[in-house]
Amino acid sequence: MSEPYTLTLAEMASAIRKKELSPVELAESLLARIDSFESMIKAWVTLPRAPLLAEARRCEQEAFRGKFRGPLHGVPIGVKDIFYTAGMRTTGGSKIFKNFFPDFDSTAVARLKKAGALILGKTATTEFAMADPAPTCNPWNAAHTPGGSSSGSAAAVATSMCPGALGSQTGGSVLRPAAFCGIVGLKPTAGRISRYGVFPLAYTLDHVGVLTRTVEDAALLLNPLAGFDFHDPASSREPVPDYGRLLRSARRPLRIGLVRAFYQKNSTKEVWKNIEEAAGKFSRAGARVEEMEMPPSFAAVHDAHQIIQSVEAASFHERLFEKDPDLYRPKLRELIETGLLIPGVDYLRAQKIKGRFRREMDVVLRNYDCLLSPATSSSAPKGLASTGNPWFQVPWSLSGHPTVGLPSGLDSRGLPLAVQLIGGVWGEERLLAAARWCEEVLRIPLYRIFFNR
């Protein structure tokens, strides 16, 4: 068998179930991988090795007895450091919570554990998932940002330090780092995964998402995470299908809508050339790719997002901020200070625009299996002072439509490029099936290219 760390999440889970791979062997392989890369990448903030290995040994003994906790039995997963983990330090990337040990798990973490996953450790995040960067570097070129805010999760998955990780997206914090690091990012429909026990950035924009190396792995992680949670008022009672099973019966995406206007104008030439090449490949493989127009409310989506994010971040942080503003880093501080000044009527108008845009997009999406755009306006920018621009993901964080980011090539500097697929609300199974099809057509598994560098 290949080195365990090279396996995909699906392959790891399957090999453990067939007793071809021991959870202890897998955990040790991932820890060795971390030892090789961590000093350069800085993806982890907490890495409790002894408890991980002890839990892996328990999983191993259970597997010997034919007992499996769930579909992810013995598979270690990375968790962004804004998710509460019982007894494990949870800093939110902030000095304020530098010694915070929650006494309960966030719902997402609890559900992963119930499915048999092991918590490998906590991955680096920007401060409270906003824009003040983590120290993490891009695995493809350490002088470049890995993106944010799920910086450590993306870098850890891209370097195969773990097969999958939890992330969150309020603006572009799952798909952007996934794109910059050359892996798959999934942001499901708002309300699909509970946000309970996750530090909020903006209550009505926050999504829990996953970062993996393949679409199949994203579906496997979504399965246990999705579903209603009494503790989260935004979580949905929509039925949760078996995403993995539906993926295996993937049908060809018949119609793909290429979003041109805003995206072409704001893309580098190299990014737009890449998306046209991808669209050409999909078309030649049998998909019907046609350009589509965005509805009128698109003109104000970035502004509405900015207002909502500022006000809601200010609402969450107000008391902590008043107590000690100097503990906040500059970008989040400015966001909070600005949010505290915005009139309520302007905030509610932004929420109305959010509703209008969602309804208008629902109508547009009836005509397509998915929409297609570049995932980011450029490849990962140089420097670690910024995590890049979230503009290309913001519309879908505002509307709540599910999105998948897929690697689509390398630019002239050898940095990853990616496409963004957008689906209808609650339509993750259809979107993932389309993404799987696109993945097979593109055949650009950047994580395998990374192994051979």
Binding site: A234, D303, Q351
Partner: protein
């Protein structure tokens, strides 16, 4: 006759970009001090533009704030 002027209805004027910016700047000054408010000017300009652009959207009376996506199933 002059007294009737106070019953004439003045149209409600829309705030201009400069007025919104000034109002935000003054609020920032009162809350965080003038020195901090001055440093916040680029952010206040961006917020002013965002407010203006959202105000320019033609929303219907029936449009409601959309905090969360409504499930198609009742709770």
């Amino acid at each position: 006759m002059e007294n009737t002027r106070c019953f004439e209805r003045e149209p409600v004027k829309k705030e201009t970009e400069a007025q919104i910016r000034q109002r935000l700047k003054e609020s920032a000054g009162r809350r965080y001090g003038d020195s901090r408010a001055k440093k916040m000017l680029p952010a206040l300009r961006a917020t002013t533009k965002a407010i203006l652009k959202t105000r320019a959207q033609d929303l219907a009376l029936e449009d409601e704030p959309a905090f969360f996506i409504r499930s198609t199933r009742t709770r």
